[in-house]
């Protein structure tokens, strides 16, 4: 059995195992073991991948496996990974593992909760390993639907409204994506040859430019809705705020990255000419996302909303960098995906833990928590510093690479856009430091808070896993960056090795 298919098989087996558990303890242990195995498998994959590359294997996709599924439509079950996918799989495994422990105390319909969560993760893993557009789309949709149940049943606040809004907007994104995929399929080969859904095969040919101009917005916006593209980001604040902790971690940390990953793997990679022509529109929109998200975070008073808007801003930055379409910027984009994924998962985990203790998410009702819950406080500060881009942590590596890469474009438009996006660093610093100040420092606002307990073992496990990953990337990014750079090679060849008419 291909190692990659295990990434989908193990979650399914875990779900089946959960059906046989009898009480909360067994369910949690089974989930933790299942996702622990997944995490170990991700580590093995990274090791094997690096070993293959060091041995001199220069194929575009490794661990390739292909099986025909629907011969008449040429739909296959095709899997394969390159450096970027491996990094994303590792991210997902870490966040899911942390998420299981962050949900340790869920007791209402706990079996269904863990089943939905793991089903969600299986969709995400499947998306990252797929190389066939049909299979990719199938897993993409699998990853959307459990969100409705997860937010609607276990959420808080206006959960039904948020769940419905999130599900419908993301499905509308799928609708756009569907049209794009069908369009790509019918132009995937020159007239007379067999059509194919295989990503690599389609990339060898060139889709006619008129169809590209029509399909590129569909594909980019389709993925962009998930990646918090302005003005389609409105599902995000309510959705993340109403969701339970692990769901927010998984969604902001991983699912939103599906949008960024899909945008470059499908939209830009397969339709580079149209991407070059139309990039300026989306650069403007993503620059607005970045700044608007950051400003939005400043005025929020609810911790989860602050983090949700912050996610809009950082995911907008990912799309912004991808649109720059040069080596440095795209490298930065992928590091940002991983870095932000870990950071936002960490933030949501912390917020969940703080809420579990103080029963409020409003920052002006809390204060001086550093004295009472020092472990959580310190982790929160470090997470905040990572978010605003302090060197030594992953946020700096990502943002630095992105802005240097974006500035490499010598024309005015790109440079102005880069400067606008860079201003987000300052705005991010404002809301991060302000929250840290109000929340953790200063006098304790409520006497009940004097008796709060600090983090327990599963909370420490969850937060430390994420924190150490952030620090590792921040201090030694070379292994990650090299892995990504090598795989960016063929992609950039396709994107930039074309003569195009650029508008700016």
């Amino acid at each position: 059995m291909n190692i990659l298919s295990l990434f989908v098989l193990i979650p399914v087996l875990t779900i089946v195992a959960i059906l046989f558990t009898n009480n909360m303890k067994q369910t949690r242990i089974v989930s933790a073991i299942g996702m622990g195995i997944q995490l170990v498998l991700a580590g093995i994959l990274v090791y094997l991948y690096l070993a293959e590359r060091n041995a001199g294997n220069t194929a575009a996709m490794l661990f390739y496996y292909d099986a025909v599924w629907f011969p008449t439509l040429n739909i296959h079950y095709t899997v394969g990974v390159d450096g970027i996918s491996v990094a994303m799989i590792a991210l997902t495994a870490i966040v899911v593992f942390a998420g299981i422990f962050a949900s340790w105390m869920v007791d209402f319909l706990y079996r269904e909760f863990f089943i939905s969560l793991i089903l969600l993760s299986s969709g995400v893993f499947g998306f990252f390993i797929s190389l066939d557009l049909f299979t990719m789309f199938l897993f993409y949709e699998v990853a959307v639907i459990p969100m409705y149940l997860l937010i609607g049943i276990w959420g808080s606040g206006p959960k039904e409204y948020s769940a419905m809004k999130l599900t419908l907007m993301l499905m509308a994104g799928s609708a756009l994506l569907f049209v794009a995929i069908l369009g790509i399929y019918f132009y995937s080969a020159p007239a007379g040859s067999t059509l194919t859904f295989n990503l690599l095969e389609i990339a060898k040919n060139s889709i006619p430019i008129e169809m590209q101009r029509f399909l590129f917005p569909f594909a980019f916006v389709g993925f962009g809705i998930l990646g918090a593209l302005f003005p389609f980001h409105t599902w995000s604040p309510d959705g993340h705020a109403s969701a339970p902790t692990a769901v927010s971690m998984l969604h902001a940390g991983v699912l939103m990255k599906l949008g960024g990953y899909g945008a470059f793997r499908v939209a830009i990679y397969l339709m580079p000419e149209a991407a070059h022509e139309q990039a300026w529109i989306f650069i403007i929109l993503t620059a607005i996302s970045v700044v608007y998200g950051a400003f939005g975070a400043i005025v929020q008073k609810d911790l989860k909303y602050i983090n949700a808007y912050s996610s809009v801003s950082h995911c907008g930055l990912v799309l912004f960098a991808i649109l720059m379409m040069n080596q440095t910027a795209m490298n930065g984009a992928i590091i940002q995906m991983i870095s932000h994924g870990l950071m936002t998962a960490l933030f949501f985990a912390l917020i969940g833990m703080i809420y579990g203790r103080t029963h409020t998410r409003m920052i002006n009702e809390m204060g001086g928590l550093m004295k009472v819950i020092p472990f959580l406080g310190v982790v929160y500060v470090i997470a905040g510093l990572a978010s605003l881009g302090l060197p030594g942590l992953s946020g700096f590596v990502a943002e630095m690479t992105i802005f240097v890469g974006s500035y490499q474009h010598t024309d005015t438009f790109h440079r102005v856009a880069t400067i606008v996006a860079t201003s987000s660093i300052v705005i991010t610093a404002v809301y991060i430091l302000r929250v840290v100040g109000i929340l953790l420092m200063g006098p304790i606002k409520n006497d009940h808070f004097l008796h709060l307990t600090d983090a327990v073992w599963y909370e420490r496990l969850s937060t430390l896993t994420l924190l150490l990953s952030i620090a590792a990337i921040g201090m030694a990014p070379l292994w990650l960056s090299d892995m990504i750079n090598f795989s960016l090679g063929p992609i950039l060849e396709k994107i930039n090795g074309v003569t195009i008419a650029v508008l700016f």
């Binding site: 629907f70 011969p71 008449t72 897993f139 499905m171 399929y185 019918f186």
Partner: protein, 469 residues
Amino acid sequence: MTMRHELILASLVLIVLIIDLNLKISQKSRIIPITIILFFIHTVIGFLPAQTGILFGGMYHTDGLTILMKNILNVGVLIILMQSVNWLQKEENKEKISEFFILLLSTLTGMNFMISSGDFLMLYLGLELATIPMAALAAFTHHQTRSAEAGIKLILSSALSSGILLFGLSLIYGSTGSIYFDTVGELYSNTPLQVMAFIFFFTGMAFKISLVPFHLWTADVYEGSPVNVTSYFSVISKGASVFILIMVMFTVFHSIAYLWKDILYLIAVMTMTIGNLFALRQKNMKRFLAFSSIAQAGFLLLGILGGNKIGMTATVYFVLVYIFSNLGAFGVVSAISAKTGKESMDDYDGLYATNPKLTLLMMLSVFSLAGIPPVAGFFGKFFLFTSAASGGYYWLVFIAVLNATISLYYYLLVVKAMFINKSETPIAFFKNDMITRLSLFICAIGIFILGFWSQVYEFIDSLTFAIVN
């Protein structure tokens, strides 16, 4: 035997009638297991290799495709028969049990003839044989005014639409001199008279499929009829009509394809949109499923629109998937209705807490209807939209997918009611009898397997054909 399906069905009707004449009133319910077992045998025999050929000088033809279509309908009817056992054993129905079976099997015979027709007269014969007993089925619980009203509405509207269809057929005969499909197909052209004839014919068929603007009878008839009759209407009657429509459009009216493609485009958009918009507000589960099935019929038109082989394959495949999904949903509605008489979505609040298995099946069926992976409905919708895209209709596909998203909203309302809404008085836990559970289990298996098991789609594809040129 070339006419195997129809002959066995007709004999079945007679057997049921004769057995029923010999039963005392207190023993009437013994006919149920007999009928179901006999029909099961009929379904199995249907899958055995059959003789294909042409009979009655071309009026009747069977080939692999028509046999497949009849088998699909048989499976659907088998599930419906199993689901209706609960309801038939109730006090008010105890004396009418065999009438139900006789009427149902008669309409199925009519549909079989319709699918196998080689000329317009046989088609009309089959159509009428299918329609008239259905009106009686709609009025089955005639002492309830809703049911009697449903029967009257159905027979009157059917009579009108059949009349229009027949008028169209007479014009076709008048202008081409023949009623045989092959001959008419060769002679057909776009003179105004023939175009009008086509429009009348299409209207008659569109009525059966509940396309907009011929859908106005649907909601009231579906709501008034007993639940199992409604499931028969929404799945078998619609499926058979779609089968015959696509076959006739591809073989007979291929020469004016450029005309009817535009008509279908417009009707598809209207049907999907209006079906969805009206379904948003429904609270009665039968009405809700009625409007959802109108929207699904709109999706089916996309398969016919492409005019290509993949279109016909996708249409047949979608009907098969639709049968399992819709019967899953109707099965749950039927089980709850038979036990408690409750048919409103508000009564479904908090159902998961009391009846988790029923709720899960309802969720699966509803997701399949909405087109969510990994269940079969996703594959059905994907292939249907692919066939439309292959004809170049990208904007139509976009409208269709947007409509699928809108439909997701009202399907999620059902999920929301069952899982998320809390209720003081949820429907209490009840165990279904063996046969109902078996039928629900078959629906669940079908919903899961039909998508992933690509052999089903490939088999259908081996039998279909593109629009004749």
